[in-house]
Structure formats: C-alpha cells, structure tokens
C-alpha cells in the first residue's frame, strides 16, 4: 500500500488548473498552424492568427487564454493500492480547485441553477473516478467552457439508423451550433453505452491530443476523417466568419450498448481545448 497525502493532491490540482488555463497545448497550436496552411478565407486566417497571438500573450503574461475559465472537470484514476492520508480524495480536489481559481485569478463561473447566485469559488468540481490497478494516482484537469458545452447534444438513436444516423446527428449538431461554440472546434463523439456513458465517453475523447486518430478501431478512425471533411465543408469557418476550418479535429470512441439502443453524444470543445495531467 502506497501513501499519498491529500495535501499533495490539492497542490497538484491547483497547479494543473492554473497551467491549463494559461498555456495552450502544443497539440492545439500545431493543429491551428496546420489549418492556417489550408484556410482560404481572409477573415478565417485573421482569426486563426489571433488564436496563435493570444496563446503567446497568455503564456508570457500568465493570464487566462479565455475569460471563461470553465467548470472544473477532473478525471481521476486511483490505483487500488493507494492509501490517501490526511483527508478525503474529493475534498482534496475541491480544495485544489478553490485555490487555483482564487490564487490564479481565474473567473469563478459556477452558480446555483435556479437563483443564479455564484458559489464564489468555482466549486463544486465535476469529478469522474476510475479505480485501476497499481499504486499511482492519475489526475487530469479539464476546464470546460460554457459556450461550447451548451452546444453539445445527446441522442438516443434506433439501431436501424446505424452509422448513417450517427453521421447525420454529428453533422447536424455542429451545423446548428454554427458560430456559437467559438470555432474552430474539436468535436468529441461517444457512441454506445447508455445515455450517461455516451456523454462521458464523448468528453473523454477530448482528452486525446487534437487530431490524433482513434488508435484502436480503424472503422472509427475512418469515421473521424469523413466527419472532419464534411464538417469543414459546412463553410462556418473560424469564429463563424466563413472558411475551411470549422473543426480542427473529430475524435470518436465507442463501447457496446443494449440491443435496443444506439446512444450517441456530441461534446463540442472550443479551440481553447484545455487539459493537463499529472501522475502522483
């Protein structure tokens, strides 16, 4: 049994959220630079260049990439041979989020759903936990913006709708979102499982480096390529100003589902695709 202190978890969560909010990932920078080469619209190129300039300013000045510093989503893989001392795992994470949003000058964006009163410290974080083998703790911090989350959709298709139904649903979701989720977007697609499992799977695909194809299923890698081509033919373009680059990437993952069902979830991520991970 390996011991990890709750304090170590709090410190790490805090550092991850501050870094994720201020330093754009290399994968996104690479994808934007790549898109600049094929973008034909002038305003589209202008917007892509602004993304690169913004990333540069945010990293140099240590200020957030986007004013929406997100709901704090945390993915945890807890080794079954880990013993957490000095406090609970969940409270340690919540404390790390509180500290990050306070000390990092990040915007507190959580509120009571009915009164709309701000909770004041950006908690509660959304925490997803998996128990795994081993004696390590893996933490992924993902600040998720509201604008792109609002454009995300889940559908319970019928088995007869098949892959064509999936394709149509994804394309329709991105087309209807239009300029709202700050394109170019990254489109996460979860197929199968149950209602909630499809949504979680879609979100997890966003933790894959932008544009890295599905490595376990060639059919899904092919679907990703086709969907990316069709989405970029929609013409929405960067910021919705028109152009080739509506999405930087499409990530699809799949798990088995009930014989009666075909759940599909589309989780849209804005171009400020933020996540950072640490292993303790």
């Amino acid at each position: 049994m390996r011991e990890i202190t709750s304090e170590a978890i709090t410190d790490r969560v805090k550092a991850l959220f501050i870094e994720a909010n201020t330093v754009l990932g290399e994968d996104v920078l690479w994808a934007v630079r790549d898109a600049l080469r094929s973008e034909t619209s002038e305003t589209g190129r202008y917007a892509l260049e602004a993304i690169l300039e913004n990333a540069d300013i945010a990293a140099k000045e240590g200020i957030p990439l986007c004013q929406d510093t997100g709901v704090a989503v945390v993915f945890v893989e807890l080794g079954q041979d880990v013993h957490i001392t000095g406090g609970s795992l969940y409270e340690a994470i919540q404390q790390g989020v509180r500290a990050a949003y306070h000390e990092g000058y990040l915007r507190k964006s959580l509120c009571d759903p009915l009164t709309r009163e701000n909770t004041g410290d950006n908690t509660p974080a959304v925490i997803h936990t998996d128990i795994v083998e081993g004696d390590r703790l893996r933490i992924v911090a993902m600040p998720k913006g509201g604008g792109s989350e609002n454009m995300s959709r889940t559908a319970m298709l019928t088995p007869s709708q098949g892959i064509e139904g999936i394709r149509e649903f994804v394309l329709r979701s991105v087309a209807e979102a239009g300029p709202n989720p700050c394109p170019p977007v990254i489109v996460g697609v979860g197929i199968g499982g149950s209602l909630e499992e499809a949504a979680l799977l879609a979100k997890k695909t966003l933790l894959r480096p932008a544009g890295k194809p599905n490595g376990s299923d060639e059919r899904l890698a092919e679907l990703e390529r086709e969907l990316l081509r069709d989405i970029n033919d929609l013409g929405i373009g960067p910021q919705g100003f028109g152009g080739r680059t509506t999405a930087l990437a499409v990530h699809v993952d799949m798990i088995p589902c009930h014989i009666a069902s075909l759940p599909v979830a589309v989780n849209i991520q804005c171009h400020v695709s933020r996540y950072r991970e640490a292993v303790i």
Partner: protein, 187 residues
C-alpha cells in the same frame, strides 16, 4: 487585406447606417459589460418602470464577464460570451437607446428585426482570445450590480477594440453570408 473602420462611442444612428455585415471595425471609447443576470435585472427594471442604474443612450453593451485583474492590471482576460442567451432582453434595451452589442454567435429573428427598427448594430468580438482582447482595454470599473461578481455591469474604456459587423441595420447577417459563400455541403 482587411481594412478596419475606426469607430467611436457613443454610437450614432448615422454611424450605424454606414456599417455593413462583414466590415471589420476598431472601436474606441466606452462600452458597458453585461451578461445573463445583469440583463435579466435591467429587463425587470424596465418592466417595473424603475429607473435603470446605467444610461443606455448611444451605448454599446459588451456581453462579457472578465477574469479578475491581477494586481497592477486594469482587467483580467476579457472576451465575448454567447449572445443568443441575451436575445429575450435585447429588444427592450434597444428601445431604451442601446445602439450596439458586442458578443459572439447568432441572434434571434426578433433581435435582428429590432436592430433594423432602431438603426443599431451587432458586432462579434473573437471568442477565446481574451488575453489578446484585454490589451484593448485601458480602464475598467464596476458601475452596477457589484454583488454579481463576474456578472456585474462594468464600464470599460477601450482603444481600437477589434470587431466584425455581424448584423447591420439593413438586415444583413455575416454568419448567413459566410456559410453561403464558403459551404460545400449543406445541412
């Protein structure tokens, strides 16, 4: 080459009349920030017949909730939130003299009609580049609803704030034009 139009607040009907969907603009002067809850409160005050905490005449409303400013800075990162959430309240604000809005994303047909009716304009600021946009803000102070925190109404002084005209007072819409001009597949 994109050649932006220099524009100053307060916005006049004359200035708005010259703007066309697709124009790039550099806006200087003062703008108000306000988003969901502030809009609901302004709207409720109008319905009740109460005096508003801010004068909307010739004003531009920027749908934004900035991050807290670090010591020594006037503002944190600041950029547009999705405008569509303000649609229910916007026609009433335009009727009260509001002349321009800054946000991102599509507006409802009611808002587009009100923009034409009141000779106003809807601009998009670029989303997700809030560190870059913060450089155009030279002053910021809370002027109403301080208790709303990030949602409070702020007065910002901006210099050459980069915008694009989405909906002009003739009823044109850049988002619709953009898709028509660039699409290879429909949906």
């Amino acid at each position: 080459m994109i050649e932006p139009i220099e524009l100053h607040t307060p916005l006049t009907g004359e200035a708005c009349e010259k703007l066309r969907a697709g124009d790039a603009v550099l806006l200087s002067g003062t703008v108000l920030t306000g988003r969901d809850t502030a809009h609901r409160r302004l709207f409720e005050a109008i319905v009740r017949g109460d005096e508003l905490p801010v004068d909307l005449e010739g004003m531009v409303m920027f749908y934004a909730g900035p991050t807290p400013a670090r010591p020594g800075r006037v503002i944190g990162s600041v950029g547009p939130t999705t405008s569509g959430r303000m649609d229910a309240y916007t026609p009433a604000l335009l009727e009260r003299g509001l002349r321009g809005m800054i946000g991102k994303g599509k507006r409802s047909s009611e808002v587009k009609e009100a923009i034409v009716r009141y000779g106003a304009v809807y601009f998009a600021a670029m989303g997700g580049v809030a560190a870059l946009l913060s450089r155009s803000v030279v002053e910021a102070r809370v002027v109403a609803y301080e208790e709303l925190g990030p949602e409070a109404i702020r007065m910002l002084k901006v210099e050459r704030f980069p915008l694009f005209v989405i909906n002009d007072c003739r009823g044109n819409d850049l988002y619709e034009d953009a898709v028509r001009n660039h699409q290879f597949s429909t949906f």
